[in-house]
Symmetry: C5
């Protein structure tokens, strides 16, 4: 699976009947070590209710058709998880919504 | 799915009988942030009646066979949507046929 | 589909029984805007009787198995069309065997 | 199959029901000649109980769905082997847990 | 199909039961025009009994599962041919085991 950040949306009224009702999110691929964007983009079907700014991973190729939302549909990229944490070498490189520090 | 701009057409009279009757469009892949072309090209089957200059996205790989027009055909790239708007970070980077400004 | 120029052939006597009888052509991928070769190569099964020097496109991945010649075979690239013309922005970038100009 | 080093983990609570119960490992792709990391990453399903620091290879694309752990699931990368040795030109470039040298 | 040179082997004792009994060869991808290695590597299942130093091509992606040796297995790269000759523009760029020249 490929890691990306939800950066926006794509809207289409004129489209294949097979994908009517699906939501198209624009993802920028990221380097999970630096968490920087790679300036490479993909349009992904939203299978989990992801929102802008969230880090997600998606299933690519034919695997994009193997979620509840996209079975048998022409979906070569479907978001299958909203990421909570990424950890490399025992240290987190990404933590979603960290708890605010409490004043002591 | 992958974003591209329809830049032209490809014509072939000598071809597999499986793809007779399909229209072959030439797409240049784009960066949806800058909307610039990437000088990378793909021949896509037209599943939605797209025209030159339009921004589209297509289903790649085996997903190219999962549209009404291409079921069971050797189509590794099939246009599944004509894009109306692309929005990144809450701001549009692309709007199709914007309404002309009315003189005040 | 991917555009390439037939630049040569690959011969193998020791091969999978599944691909015995197929012809293996060597393609150099091209940029259809400049028509220059990209120095990237692929071995493609010949599904249409293509010859050296011709511009073709091929179906990649699993779509390579969806032609008459390659059904169910391990063919991840199968030529499905010999290209007559490529047109970008209304102007041809490639025309096969153009008619010779007649002296006036 | 693609070679990588297990460098970390990815955790998600909000995900497709199809992948609940699977473990997501973060791999950095490697060059098996130099054994250096390529700064390219993939999230892979763990099909063999791999641990951080191990060299593995994974099955990509639809093949990611053809292991016991991932049958029919949207898994485009599934670890299928923990590597013991890599040998190039008759010389090992990688040996897992080499026997410690005995003092003479 | 993709051309490569068999440069070594990969050994794994801890692996998916689906790939037990298969041999894993390490290939370096090549440019068939110069015959130079590209410093890009793939682990391929051996479907034809290839040996170190030989030039081969392999079927990638789902096509890797369509050989006798790998049917239904998670094999995204399976060698399907040992190459005898590669010819570009009518001239050989590679000939396997050429006949030694006879002294005149």
């Amino acid at each position: 699976m490929v890691l990306g950040r939800v950066v926006g949306t794509v809207v289409s009224t004129h489209k294949s009947s097979k994908i009517v009702g699906l939501k198209f999110l624009l993802l920028e691929l990221i380097n999970p070590s630096s968490m920087e964007g790679l300036d490479k983009y993909v349009v992904a079907m939203d299978g989990v209710g992801a929102g802008t700014g969230e880090i997600v991973f998606y299933a690519s190729g034919s695997c994009g058709r193997y979620t509840e939302a996209t079975l048998g549909k022409p979906a070569d990229a479907t978001i299958t998880a909203i990421v909570d944490t990424i950890e490399i070498g025992g240290k987190p490189t990404y933590v979603k919504n960290p708890e605010p520090e409490t004043a002591k």
